[in-house]
């Protein structure tokens, strides 16, 4: 329950990051507010949800004694561990993009958008692995 809820909130928060960053990159009124919202969403939405998802995963694995060497668990761990690194990089870029103020997020914002989109695709693969359980 904790794992699934955390994963769903994580994906939802990433969708908000993608939408607000794309909006900020389009420019115009409110671009600054959108860049700031994207950064805050990464900080208070994506990262706490990631922790919830990851703690929940360890909890299930220890309760149910799931072997760590099956393919679908490996995919889950790889996506989660790589995802944390990309999330931290995206948060740093988003912070710097938000500090550019009226100048707009520029290349930093495009970096955040690409990283958030890559994370969404990776979590899509993880959802597939959890449902299909390849190698089980």
């Amino acid at each position: 329950m904790v794992h699934v809820a955390g994963a769903m909130l994580l994906v939802g928060a990433l969708v908000v990051v993608v939408a607000t960053t794309a909006g900020a990159l389009r420019g115009g009124d409110g671009s600054e507010a959108l860049a700031g919202l994207a950064f805050r969403t990464l900080l208070v939405g994506v990262l706490p949800a990631y922790i919830l998802m990851r703690v929940g995963a360890e909890w299930i694995a220890s309760e149910e004694g799931v072997p760590g060497d099956v393919d679908w668990i490996g995919i889950g761990y790889a996506v989660a561990d790589g995802g944390l690194l990309l999330t931290i990089i995206a948060a740093v870029l988003a912070w710097r993009a938000a500090r550019r103020g009226a100048a707009g997020p520029g290349g930093l914002g495009r970096g955040v958008l690409v990283l958030a989109a890559v994370l969404l695709v990776a979590y899509g693969v993880a959802i597939w692995a959890m449902a299909a359980k390849p190698g089980y």
């Binding site: 909130l9 908000v16 009124d29 409110g30």
Partner: protein
């Protein structure tokens, strides 16, 4: 992949879309970003909530028909359908506001509607995972 695995994947994916729509609506209602946030998040919130809602229903019912041992009249499945209806009903006015280009945050009772959607979705998740009575 078997039919069951495909249906489970698509059902799960739809549930993720549904929650993404809910999170987007929550940010729309709770943030102070004004028109810019409405423009950026309104359409994605509507599209994700609707696609997720339709997907969870269609693939959920399909799964119930496909899996031996599950029936559409099982208590936990009926409870899930009722919760789905409650969530969809609460989202109706928010969706209409987005389609008309209004700011969702300015609708009277918008926070209450998102609260009902969140509670219904959380209970749906509990019912789906624990399957009480199954």
């Amino acid at each position: 992949m078997s039919t069951y695995e495909w249906l489970l994947f698509l059902h799960l994916l739809a549930a993720f879309l549904l929650v993404s729509g809910l999170v987007s609506y929550s940010v729309l209602v709770l943030s102070s970003g004004g028109e810019a946030v409405s423009r950026a998040l309104g359409s994605p919130a509507l599209a994700l909530w609707n696609a997720g809602g339709l997907g969870t229903l269609v693939f959920g019912v399909w799964l119930a028909l496909d899996v031996d041992g599950y029936e559409l009249w099982d208590g936990w499945i009926i409870a899930a359908l009722v919760l789905w209806l409650i969530g969809s009903g609460a989202a109706g006015r928010l969706g209409a506001a987005v389609r008309e280009g209004q700011s969702v945050g300015r609708i009277e009772g918008a926070r209450r509607m998102v609260g009902v959607m969140a509670l219904a979705t959380l209970l749906l998740l509990v019912v789906m995972i624990f399957k009480p009575g199954a």
